[in-house]
Amino acid sequence: MPGIAITFTSGKGGVGKTTVTANLAVALALLGRRVTAIDTDIGLRNLDIVMGMENRIIYDIVDVVEGRCHLYQALIRDKRFSSLHLLPASQTRDKTAVTPQDMVAICQELKKNNDFVLIDSPAGIELGFRNALAGADELVVVTTPEVAAVRSADRILGLIESIGKGSSQLIINRIKPSMVRRGDMLDTFDVIEFLAIELLGVVPEDEAILIATNQGIPLACEAKTPAGQAFHNIAYRLLGEEVPFLPIFEEPETLFTRIRRVLRLSY
């Protein structure tokens, strides 16, 4: 059975697409799945850094497209998990070096030998974004609980609709429970209500993420941090299991929120 290709995109930069992609790739590999991550941010690659594979790149996606190597020669195998691979982006070229048709062909091939192909999209809505979308079966929009990021996510969802891609799910990244509790940050419900799409997961802001990212060791390897736990839960959801959302993100239940919740359930 061929795997599925999932693209992680956001429109706005800096919301954590690459971190999310890397951590979910590791979390799925930990669960025994065959995973290949593709970095489509040609000219500004960084998935290799976050995954700690920077020094082992020999061929990249542009070499594959231009026929200088076979697809499987360009894949870098993870040192810890033999079922995890990365197809890195080229740093010396730009987005025009790859076409959407190339992406479709690459994803088709990789899906034959993987359970999951995770595609990290560049920021923006130009060719790089369209390349990242081309081979995707499913889409995950990543946002942070900021108005600007949520608006970008809305724009992206509109573009996905017009391109005619199927269903999208949402990951809310870098949420700060304490700020939400004080009412200083958009909460999960605000974001979901606005974007009106299915929630795949909520990842809390976690210093451990920053440290792990700098060291090139995706956090999901050591699961016992809040963010690592959140990534594991998302991985299980991608496998089709129902995992309740971490309790930390639930609003303290007052009479008002209870009414809101009950009303929402009846939608």
């Binding site: 608006r151 809305d154 724009r155 509109g158 573009l159 609709e161 606005f194 009106a196």
Partner: protein, 244 residues
């Protein structure tokens, strides 16, 4: 009935002296697109009026293609050129010319303007011809997201939300069965009588005819319920949307 004013910050447009010219310039939306019919009268006066009319509905026409109906009028080549020039100054392209005058047809051919088919004559001469400027509406059953835009010469009904960054420009009324948080221009062809209603009326900007208003800068207050916005004494005001 309480009225919630939406800070009006600008009022554009000309004094209301259009009564006479409505008979001479008719703008309507058809299945094939926008059509402008020019009636009798002095050609240059007509062009000036058309210019004024287009200026009023600038946003609506910009970048569009129109079909022109000049009926029986004999048009010379320079006269037709003037007309194309007026349209071009508003960024409008003349798609086709409908005429029954031989002279005008020849002028059009010389200027490489396509000739359109004249409107079909009603099979029953007694059939009343609709007199409204626009007659077609549009029902949209989805949410308009940021960056998406809808332009329609008639009325628009949306079942879904209009998110910030989305825009709806309609010649007639706009009804949103959902949250309206984007930009809406109702009566964009110069109709100040148009209305905008929504279950939650919080547009970033609201335009009706030649009037512009922004939403008051209040923090997320408790839901106000369905509201209808219209022009009252030169200002856009929102009132609760209740059955009359």
């Amino acid at each position: 009935m309480t009225q919630r004013p939406i800070m009006p910050f600008s009022r554009r447009g000309q004094p209301n002296s259009r009564k006479a010219e409505v008979a001479r310039i008719r703008i309507k939306g058809t299945r094939k697109g926008l059509s402008i019919a020019l009636g009798k009268g002095d050609w240059h006066q007509l062009l000036r009026k058309l210019d004024a009319r287009l200026t009023q509905a600038e946003a609506f026409f910009r970048g569009s293609q129109v079909s022109l109906d000049t009926g029986r009028r004999d048009l010379s080549q320079p006269e037709l050129e003037e007309l194309i020039h007026v349209l071009a100054s508003h960024d409008i392209e003349l798609a086709t010319l409908q005429t029954v005058s031989r002279l005008a047809s020849e002028a059009a051919q010389a200027l490489e303007v396509r000739l359109g088919l004249p409107e079909p004559i009603p099979t029953h001469p007694d059939t009343p011809v609709p007199m409204e400027e626009w007659s077609e509406g549009l029902l949209l059953r989805r949410t308009l997201r940021s960056g998406q835009s809808l332009k329609q010469p008639g009325h628009v009904v949306i079942i879904g939300d209009v998110n910030p960054g989305a825009q709806v420009i309609a010649g007639g009324d706009v009804i949103v069965w959902g949250r309206l948080r984007g930009m809406v221009h109702a009566g964009a062809l110069g109709n100040d009588e148009a209305i905008v209603c929504a279950l939650e009326l919080r547009p970033i900007q609201l335009r009706i005819g030649s009037h512009i208003a922004t939403s008051p800068d209040e923090k997320e207050s408790a839901s106000t319920g369905p509201e209808v916005a219209s022009v009252l004494d030169g200002h856009i005001v929102a009132r609760p949307w209740t059955s009359k």
